[in-house]
Symmetry: C2
Subunit: 145 residues, 2 copies
């Protein structure tokens, strides 16, 4: 069980350099032709690996992946894990508060799909992630200086 | 006065997407030929400006600057402000704990320079920031997906 201070730290970390997103992936084996993929990801440079691993093990809900460009991703991809994580940090999140709410709404609706209409209304919610996450320009960062 | 939870949030934010650095800048008007520039910077995409401004005004120790690439920087550049900010969040910082300690050491020594030797030992500390902040590869990030 994490302390309030740890949850608040993680909320700040996610706000600073994390990502919450959902996307529709065409997949003919799924009933409505699409899979809904959901993720919460924290990023860090590989050189901070040991310390970053501490933070990840504190969370204990995802897995680490090293990208080819040397960035470590801590990926929380299971629905139950995302729900646990987001509910835990929700009171402390500032910048990504809308994404947290939207993701929790999507997860709830995902469990209750019973018709094509249900699926379509969920698909709209998933699409609205794009607008929340991206402005006109793709986000690209380099450190100063 | 910030609460412990707010300080912990800011520590997470800095660990996720902030930068602490010092550099020597050649400047003939300074006694030892160099100016020691020190910064703490928080980054965010411009599209989150209003929320990011909230966080910055919570801190109240720096100023906002919009880079040409659309990234907002909240820059804490005054020595006293850096000291206040870092001492405040120090108990909660994980990834950048070494940088916090190193910067506080640099600021203390900077106040006490009395000789060329003092300056040289300080310059070495400043140089060690480079190793802490950069691995072989320059840190570059794009969001997933």
């Amino acid at each position: 069980m994490l302390s309030q201070l740890q949850k608040s730290y993680l909320a700040g970390f996610l706000d600073g350099d994390g990502s919450i997103y959902a996307q529709l992936k065409p997949n003919p084996t799924y009933k409505y032709g699409f899979q809904i993929a959901v993720y919460v990801v924290l990023f860090q440079s590989q050189k901070d690996r040991s310390q970053f691993e501490k933070i990840c093990s504190l969370i204990g809900l995802g897995y680490l992946r090293l990208r080819k460009d040397g960035i470590l991703e801590y990926i929380i991809g299971k629905i139950d894990s995302i729900r646990i994580f987001l509910k835990m940090i929700k009171p402390y999140v500032i910048l990504k508060a809308e994404q947290v709410d939207l993701m929790l709404e999507i997860l709830d609706k995902k469990d209750k799909i019973q018709s094509k209409e249900d699926f379509n209304s969920l698909a709209k919610l998933v699409d609205s992630f794009r607008e929340l996450n991206y402005s006109k320009k793709r986000k690209r960062r380099t450190l100063t200086p």
